[in-house]
Symmetry: C2
Subunit: 210 residues, 2 copies
Amino acid sequence: MKKISDSTISRLSTYYRTLSRLIEQNVETVSSDEIAEINNITSAQVRKDLSFFGSFGKRGLGYNTKDLREEIAKILGLKKQWNVALVGVGNIGRALIDYAEFKKQGFIIKALFDNDPKKVNTEVGGLKIHDIENACNIVKKEKIEIAIIAVPAKHAQAVVDTLVQCGVKAFLNFAPVTIKVPSDVIVKNENMSIELEALSYFLTQNKKGD
Amino acid sequence: MKKISDSTISRLSTYYRTLSRLIEQNVETVSSDEIAEINNITSAQVRKDLSFFGSFGKRGLGYNTKDLREEIAKILGLKKQWNVALVGVGNIGRALIDYAEFKKQGFIIKALFDNDPKKVNTEVGGLKIHDIENACNIVKKEKIEIAIIAVPAKHAQAVVDTLVQCGVKAFLNFAPVTIKVPSDVIVKNENMSIELEALSYFLTQNKKGD
DNA sequence: AATTGTGAACCTCTTCACAGCT
DNA sequence: AGCTGTGAAGAGGTTCACAATT
């Protein structure tokens, strides 16, 4: 299959959410122009993104909101439940355990890991915290497919290495470091400092521009 | 000044962190090749990114880690303290209050806002939670320059509108919606569901490929 | 000998513009 | 008449490759 760009995939996610909202509002039909307007992009972009996967609209009419949402769910693989492990039960980790948005989209946190002996064997949100030592057993038992890495930067690579050994192929990394993985494994980064620093750059430039 | 791409700016952030780590390890000199290797990119990319802002290296030798880190700090505007407001003291918000990485980079949370009457006037992390109604007073008093939006999607646009009125020009948005702002205001999004859905897409494709 | 800084080539993503369908 | 789907053009970002420098 032709390689689809990351930007297209993340825009599909935003279309998905846009459609969910429209469906809630009982909107039955939507044009690429309207989807574009809601998300500050061009309608050509919306149509092109969708065209990589098929033709879901009706010329002259637009898209049926429910049908299109369903198609995007299929494309993104949201028709199944994903079993997720969370590694690092600190501030960020704890917040993610209760993050409703994840659950809504079918990402279910099934296992918690930490290396702090004080935390291991305690419970958070109804889930027991395991030692990362036992990772492979739990990964197998809970059929974990995705791991969220919320440990300090210096431990992130080791944690990922361990889980790659256990067969985990997808990681959402909150640690502010670049993680190396084999080519059949994917890492997506969520680095809040980078975005804040982009704001800092923007504000600094604007000041200079005056 | 010529427009620099977002990707270049976020790579500068990662170089900055790479250099910090090297300095901690008492490394004094580094080549574009080494920086590239650490971050899984090409050395030409590193040199090109830096070249937009000046020539900071010595041919044949590489870059002085401390000097280059200093230059990048200047470029990104990290030589000053940024006063930040956090709106929405829920799970995510609370985790961010204690997020050490922010403080380390000079982003100081100076004000908290929420609209829940039960939370208003209580304290978290030594900071009083204010009603968003009083935003402009507090923004002025605390010289707020950046706001982190950690409220539910349906309230995000209204909260941003309010703060734009108060003169805030930079937002880090955790709500899974596209926010509209005037052209002199910047919004950066931190949307964890989008990244998880990209993992879902990747895993789904791979399965099909078998 | 090693490594930077950079124009040119290349590649990828976005937008245009219009034929084709409803 | 209105809106999609898409090939072609355009814009933007990345990599190459090498002259310049230490």
